[in-house]
Amino acid sequence: MPSTVKPSTEPAWNQMPLAIQPDPSQLDNIKAQLDLVLLALEALAGIGSDAILQAAADLQLTDVVADRVSLWRLRQASPLRKGQGRKRLDVEEARSLVLIICHLAKQHQELIRRAVALLEQLTEQGEPPHQAALLGDYLDNFSNTYQERMDHGDETPIAQLTHLALKLLIDLLFYSAPNGSRRLWLALLDRAALPASAHSY
């Protein structure tokens, strides 16, 4: 797939090298991943499309993510979604979403840290994560939204969704770091080699 990367003055672009060009099937995986990470942010921090669009504006990415419609379209590109996302997500759009995600994660880093700290504590004690309200709400939100939006979502066992949500929570922690966009980008490219189904349950 030809790269449609436009010249950008974003200094963060250099955090996301294009030495590896994802092929179309890999982009599918990337789309799925990006949508899931955004879902995790939504479920944990109540981030809605307003916050995402504001982040796009802050990062001067409005040419890629201009309004709710374009945001919806980008997220609908995920192959896991109902309707199976036929929209192709180009590399620049993927990069923009990476920047937006990490920007939002950074903004909510305290919340993410608190959630991870609670998770660690409960795990060490052998207690289920739902015992902490913050985690319980997160997991409920995540499961509900996933089931609503994803193809065959309501057939996915809750336990699997819980594990997916917790994995994404840990990922969000690392994406909230200053070099988070680089980490996310590399993780996307790495994981893109795995079959798409490996990213869902």
Binding site: P7, S8, T9, E10, P11, W13, N14, Q15, M16, P17, L18, A19, R113, V116, A117, L119, E120, T123, E124, Q160, H163, L164, L166, K167, I170, D171, L173, F174, A177, P178, N179, R182, R183, L184, L186, A187, D190, R191, L194, P195, S197, A198, H199, S200, Y201
Partner: protein, 501 residues
């Protein structure tokens, strides 16, 4: 010599301190020069009782290894599929270690995840492995002490904080003061190399003068004749007059000392490096000392391989000759010391130029220098001389062949030409890109080493030729040179010979 703490990184659950001793060379370089860089890493989160705080120490190499391990482990962690994460979350320590030994794991839907959850190991015995229940076992290897024990178990938050501190440290390395590097590590640490460049400008200044062939001391006349010359590109006269600096001997030993990994110590050239390092002329030095190095610019008139050199304004020409005349003649017999020093100078120049944006050098030998009054006798601004000399040296001028400088090969100019034709810095690029190129004897590239994350990220935009592709001409003598290439954010291209194998 006191130990000073250069940097302290204090995320919530650990503290990383970078320490160094100030080298006595500081007095000659006019800026902090550091050696014996060490680090101390303490896991001292508020959630831990004081008696459970763990601290380890090590040198820079060990810290760099730790950085590599942690970075790779974090990426592995992120790369896991949800199925693998389940395992990380739920397994006990024993089970997760068994998993990390290479067993594959079947995900719940029966697919085999073909990238099992490995830990990351490194030479020196350090490793990081999953320890179940969101914990990670950091084996300390050579960093272990009796207090720390062989390993430390980190929570995911502690791992996150550690990774961030290490990332910040790596990002900061370019802006840290110069480090004097152990000789054996000269070519082994990119970060040190770049940082050390900051140190070397003044040393380089005088050193350069050492390596040009001797010419008659009567070149005062020649130098004077340059007063009227507008041609900075270096006539032979300039190069020769540069050799007349009587203080060159002094600079050689000092620069040898400060140069990274310089194996040879010039003998018989004790030289009061300080003489050169210190502004010999009140009139000129304060000007140069106070000015920052200007941004790199391409000089169409010459090779422009060194921004500092290439930017010398024409009006500097008149001032240089008198100072050059102060440079003692450099005997060709001094040559044995030249190669390494020149090579270091080259790399120093490189580093200087690359460090230009990050750290203004008070004693910068470059264009910041104001022209001194023409006709002033030998006293000296060795830095001006140096910039002249190094520029002509770097430009691969005909007089190079005459001088027989073994540290400039024609391929350097070919490399510069190659990239000048192609290098178009992206708008988003704000730093220079530095690469180490190892060439085969046939002129193709044996290896490209990007120096720093920016260089890595932008390599696909540099039009870097591929390995084993035809690149430059065959190297005479069958050498396999190691070249430092700098692609400036402003479009400037420089190439220096680091090492002629």
């Amino acid at each position: 010599m006191s130990i000073s703490i250069l940097r302290r990184y204090t995320p919530s659950t650990c503290t990383l301190e970078i320490m160094a001793k100030e080298s006595p060379l500081s007095r000659w370089t006019g800026q902090p020069t550091l050696k014996q860089v060490r680090f101390q890493l303490s896991f001292d989160g508020p959630h831990l009782p004081t008696d459970r705080h763990v601290a380890v120490q090590g040198d820079r190499d060990q810290l760099d290894r730790l950085c590599d391990i942690v970075e790779e482990y974090v990426q592995d962690l992120l790369r896991q599929s949800p199925a693998q994460f389940d395992t990380l979350l739920s397994l006990t320590s024993t089970e997760s270690r068994a998993l990390s030994l290479g067993d594959t794991h079947r995900s719940q839907n029966g697919q085999i995840d073909d990238r099992p959850l490995h830990g990351v190991s490194h030479a020196g015995g350090m490793s990081l492995q999953p320890a179940g229940a969101l914990k990670h076992a950091l084996s300390l290897g050579e960093l272990a002490t009796s207090e720390s024990g062989p390993s430390v178990t980190l929570s995911t938050l502690e791992l996150f904080d550690l990774a961030n501190a290490l990332d910040e440290y790596q990002a900061d390395t370019l802006s840290l003061p110069a480090f004097e590097q152990a000789r054996q590590h000269y070519f082994s640490n990119n970060w040190l190399r770049v940082a050390a460049v900051l140190l070397l400008t003044v040393g380089v200044t005088a050193t350069v003068t050492q390596f040009l062939p001797n010419s008659s001391t009567t070149n005062l006349q020649t130098a004077d004749s340059l007063d009227n010359s507008d041609d900075q590109s270096g006539s032979d006269d300039i190069a020769r007059s540069a050799n007349d600096d009587p203080t060159s001997d002094e600079t050689l030993s000092e620069s040898a000392e400060v140069n990274l990994g310089l194996e040879q110590t010039p003998s018989g050239e004790a030289a009061p490096f300080s003489d050169l390092a210190q502004p010999p002329r009140p009139g000129s030095s304060p000007n140069s000392a106070s000015e920052n190095r200007p941004p790199q610019q391409r000089q169409p008139s010459n090779g422009g391989s060194s921004p500092s050199r290439s930017q010398q304004p024409p009006n500097l020409v008149p001032s240089i000759p008198p100072q050059l005349s102060a440079i003692p003649p450099v005997e060709r017999s001094d040559r044995p010391n030249s190669p390494s020093a020149s090579g270091d100078i080259a790399s120093n120049d490189t580093a200087s130029s690359s460090a230009a944006e990050s750290a203004p050098l008070p004693s910068s030998a470059t264009m910041s220098r104001q022209p001194s009054a023409p006709g002033e006798p030998r006293s000296s601004d060795p830095q001006q001389s140096e910039s002249r000399i190094s520029r002509s040296a770097a430009d691969g001028l005909p007089n190079q062949a005459v001088l027989g400088d073994p540290n400039t090969i024609p391929q350097l100019e070919e490399i510069r030409d190659y990239f000048r034709d192609r290098w178009q810095p992206p708008e988003s690029l704000t730093r220079n890109l530095e690469y180490r190129l190892m060439l085969n004897a046939d002129g193709s590239i044996e290896r490209i080493v990007p120096l720093g994350p920016t260089a890595e990220d932008y390599i696909d935009r540099t039009e870097m030729p591929l390995r084993d592709e035809p690149f430059v001409s065959r190297i005479q003598g069958g050498h396999m040179p190691q070249i430092r290439l700098i692609l400036g954010a402003d479009g400037d291209v420089q190439a220096f010979l680091e090492y002629l194998n």
